[in-house]
């Protein structure tokens, strides 16, 4: 799991049921748009994150796209983050997860 992905997942897990928009996640994960959006697209493709458009509050306002962890996503992300934490605590860890895991 890459560091940017871990940051995004941790930002989601701060409040797993809360829908988050791109800029909000950028600030929470301290990532640039060029890093964040491809990650979100990948997570959405893996069905770990679902997206929905907001209803504009004012006329002429562009609707924002919100992202939220799916129920499966919450479980998978918790497991992966726990595994990463265990891995990082283990002595002499290589810093990367095994193939097949997230990221």
């Amino acid at each position: 799991m890459t560091v940017p992905l871990e940051r995004v997942l941790r930002a989601f897990l701060d409040d797993p049921t809360a829908p988050r928009y791109g800029y909000d996640l950028m600030k929470a994960a301290s990532l640039q748009s060029g890093t964040l959006y491809p990650l979100l697209a990948r997570l959405e493709h893996q069905k770990l994150v679902a997206s929905a458009w907001e209803t504009p509050q004012q006329e002429g306002q562009r609707p924002r796209k919100y992202y939220q962890l799916t129920s499966e996503g919450i479980q998978v992300v918790r497991l992966e983050l726990a595994r990463t934490a265990r891995h990082q605590r283990a002595p002499g860890h290589p810093g990367h997860l095994a193939p097949g895991s997230l990221g």
Binding site: Y23, Q32, G34, T35, L36, Y37, P38, R64, K65
Partner: protein, 205 residues
């Protein structure tokens, strides 16, 4: 905020440029999503300084260019065969120009134009490489055009300095023809069904 509309237009332009590199089926949606964040960043009250907010918004918009390149399923295009030939020719021409420029700079270290020629030839070498590494890097078009113009200026200047040296005329004409060929092939590829439609159909771009 003063100049907000102008800044938003610049941001939308940058986002629009980024989205042109995406496949048509996701292009509009991504544009809407990314452009919707621009006013939010520009009016983010958590950041007190307005110039910093403006910079952040422009940084966000500019970085979507990187995002569109990394996006899964983005439009990856292999260069067409004529493009490969032109790229190869440009690469070879760039190498020759670079060697020539370095040789001239060594022989006449006080002549500034030789250094300009070396820089220009480096661009000329870098561009074909960037096309092979990432064929979607269209920003390099700007580099090619500007370096081409700079190269023409160098050779014409050399021709003025030494009117009897036919090499300057030959290289100036040759490089002009190369750029003309590159431009024509680019147009041909664009209108020949590859990525036809483009982002010109994008709403509010």
């Amino acid at each position: 905020m003063r100049g907000e509309r102008t800044l938003l237009h610049i941001g939308e332009y940058l986002v629009g440029r980024s989205c042109r590199r995406l496949p048509p089926e996701i292009r509009d949606e991504r544009y809407q999503e990314w452009a919707a964040e621009l006013p939010a960043i520009l009016n983010d009250r958590a950041i007190r300084l307005a110039p910093y907010r403006a910079l952040r918004m422009l940084g966000y918009a500019g970085d979507t260019l990187r995002g569109s390149a990394l996006m899964p399923g983005r439009a990856r295009r292999r260069p067409a065969v004529p493009s490969i030939l032109v790229l190869g020719l440009l690469f070879a021409a760039g190498l020759v120009a670079m060697v020539w420029g370095i040789w001239n700079a060594v022989r006449a270290p006080g002549h500034e134009l030789n250094y300009v020629q070396v820089v220009w030839s480096l661009f000329l070498v870098a561009w074909p490489i960037s096309q092979y590494v990432r064929s979607g890097a269209r920003m390099t078009g700007l580099i090619v055009i500007s370096s081409g113009l700079a190269g023409e200026v160098v050779y014409i200047w050399n021709a003025v300095q030494a009117p009897g040296d036919w090499v300057n005329y030959f290289v100036a004409a040759g490089s002009f023809l190369l750029y003309l060929a590159w431009w024509l092939i680019r147009q041909w590829v664009r209108t020949g069904g590859h990525n036809a439609g483009g982002a010109g159909q994008m709403t509010a771009s």
